[in-house]
């Protein structure tokens, strides 16, 4: 069990540091609240209505697709770096990987998932 002490230490330190920072700002920071300051801050725009409302499913669809191809890009970087070492076999494997994702993209496209309206 000895080898896990470092992890435990990391957890404890992480919690301690965040708690300490919150406490410091609480005690040291000046407090002059007014109405504008107490309102919700959102990129400078006025908040309208509740945040807990239903979003169109299209947002989720785009988000999922983004996630998918984002991950694809993440895989492509190390492969590009090691291209010579991996050789032809690596090329084929990556080709299959891309092929599968491209089939998915075609599906999303044909089914109209990329059209906003």
């Amino acid at each position: 069990m000895l080898s896990y002490e470092a992890i435990l230490l990391l957890i404890v330190l992480g919690i301690a540091i965040s708690v300490v920072f919150v406490l410091i700002s609480k005690f040291l920071g000046p407090k002059n609240p007014n109405a504008r300051k107490k309102s919700v801050y959102e990129c400078g725009a006025e908040p309208q209505g509740s945040a807990r409302k239903r979003f169109p499913v299209k947002f989720y669809m785009i988000a999922l697709l983004f996630l998918l191809f984002d991950i694809e890009a993440v895989f492509l970087y190390p492969w590009a770096k090691l291209f010579r070492e991996l050789g032809f076999l690596g090329f084929v494997e990556m080709g299959i990987f891309m092929l599968v994702l491209i089939v998915g993209l075609i599906y999303a496209w044909r089914k109209g998932a990329l059209e906003w309206e």
Partner: protein, 489 residues
């Protein structure tokens, strides 16, 4: 890093099934939206057949391929074929029933193929990571299949429940893998066997990890108390999907249980320590007893045929768990049982699919007097139910016979007595359906109006044929199962 042709051959069933799924996605994408998607079912059956055949034509390779990740032994081969059979029947049901119930889309077939591919990978996995990969490839399409009827509240509910609880159980499995790795230093199943052979009682992390692996797999197999999702999901999903969940996924889950628990952690079978007897033997004993008891008793008070069949499928898990404990003859009996169980359960669900329509029609009261209006369907249903109850001369009788025989040989007398006792209880709820069909007067005659469905009828006939043939002449099927289970301890 090299990959040889031999490596590729081992995962041929997986490659064929997933390649087929990709092709079906493309076909579905480029077909006109109004074209019926029935023809995709034909493609699906073709790919499933090729996948099953490829499992049988490749030579057995018990040494693992891809650097110890997968292998093709008798177990993998047999269960791959069972899964492909189950998926093929589900396709037949889907071709007729899904358009009828308002889902005319083609994804269902691709999902089915992906799931079958995952099951095949799971059956041939030789490493915990591959087990996990197979498990996920198997499950994620299944969640979507459960929710295939998007406008049906119960179907979406089923999909959601299956997904959330499935993810929960997967978490257990993954955590178990991590703990086992931390204790043994490897995820290869072969290394696990060596590490668990001696001194496992000294390794609490291994124990905890093993239990978590068990929970993850027991969820997929619907073992009590990890079964709670099963009745709701089986009931709410479209019947073709239910037929696949109850047979194909169950077969895959038992493949994983055999691989991970029985084959890879044989050392943990039973040990006496500090006067306490612990080990798989006792855990499975309790799980089997609980599974048989809870499912059989709860099935008694159900009022929906699909739900009765759902509880029945959980009850059969209980019998199968007995087989897992009974060594090599038990393993052969489990494989044989899974084969017969696939035919009779798919057959029963196929009759349900045949008789239901968009307005439902799976209530026990809907089945009252059905024998008069649909004598052939009722007769087929009666055969499947008799087989499920284990009444000769059906295949179900021999399946139970060999299972209990193996259990008695393995010294599991008490458990066998329990098993026989609960089979008697199960006969009650199976016969309740038969009684409703043949001896009761129908109240709402109009509920069940049936549109012609050639594919469903084909599925019913094939299942009927095999249920009866195996009952009359079980020897060849049994000997295949025995050969496939030869690597079991």
């Amino acid at each position: 890093m090299t990959v040889t042709i031999n490596d590729v051959v081992v995962i041929l069933p997986f490659l064929v099934a997933s390649g087929g799924a990709l092709l079906i996605i493309l076909l579905d994408s480029f077909s006109a939206p109004r074209t019926p998607r029935r023809f995709l079912g034909g493609f699906t059956i073709f790919f499933l057949a090729v996948a099953a055949l490829s499992a049988y034509i490749v030579p057995l390779r018990t040494e693992s391929a891809f650097h110890g990740m997968v292998m093709m032994d008798g177990l993998a081969r047999f269960l791959s074929v069972v899964v492909m059979l189950s998926a093929g029947f589900a396709t037949l049901l889907a071709m007729d029933r899904l358009p009828e119930q308002g889902s005319a889309r083609g994804e269902f077939y691709a999902l089915l193929l992906f799931s079958a591919a995952g099951a095949s990978l799971l059956a041939s996995a030789a490493d915990l990571v591959m087990v996990f990969l197979g498990l996920e490839t198997l499950s994620i399409p299944a969640y979507a299949m459960a929710a295939a009827l998007r406008r049906d509240v119960r179907s979406t509910e089923a999909g959601f429940k299956y997904f959330v609880l499935g993810a929960f159980a997967t978490g257990f499995f993954l955590m178990g893998t991590a703990l086992v790795y931390s204790s043994v230093g490897s995820t290869a199943l072969g290394r696990l066997a060596a590490a668990s052979a001696s001194g496992w009682t000294e390794k609490p992390l291994l124990c905890m990890g093993a239990v978590m692996l068990l929970v993850g797999l027991a969820f997929k197999a619907a073992v009590v108390p990890f079964h709670m999702w099963a009745p709701d999901v089986y009931d709410g999903s479209p019947t073709p999907a239910t037929a696949y969940f109850a047979t194909g996924i169950k077969a895959a889950a038992f493949a994983a249980l055999l691989r991970v628990v029985i084959l890879s952690l044989p050392g943990m079978r039973a040990e006496e320590i500090n006067g306490n007897e612990i080990g798989w033997h006792y855990i499975f004993w309790g799980l089997a007893a609980a599974t048989m008891a809870v499912s059989s008793l709860t099935a008694l008070v159900q009022k929906d045929v699909k739900r009765i069949l759902a509880y029945s499928s959980v009850a059969h898990v209980g019998y199968l768990l007995i087989g897992l404990l009974a060594g090599k003859p038990g393993g052969a009996a489990v494989l044989f049982y899974l084969l017969v169980y696939t035919f009779m359960t798919v057959g029963a669900f196929a009759v349900v699919a045949y008789l239901e329509n968009s307005k439902g029609g799976t209530k026990l009261s809907d089945y009252a007097g059905i024998a008069k209006r649909h004598p052939y369907a009722a007769a087929a249903m009666a055969v499947f139910l008799f087989s499920l109850a284990g009444i000769p001369p059906t295949g179900g009788f021999f399946a139970k016979f060999y299972l209990f025989k193996a259990a008695v040989q393995g010294g599991l007398i008490n458990l066998t007595v329990l098993g026989v006792l609960f089979s008697v209880v199960s006969a009650y709820y199976y016969l309740r359906i038969v009684v409703a069909m043949y001896m009761e007067q129908g109240e709402n005659q109009a509920v069940i109006d049936i549109s012609p469905s050639a594919a469903v009828v084909t599925a019913i006939c094939l299942c009927l044929l095999f249920t009866i043939i195996i009952g009359l002449y079980p020897t060849p099927y049994l000997s295949v199962a025995q050969a496939s289970a030869s690597m079991l301890p």
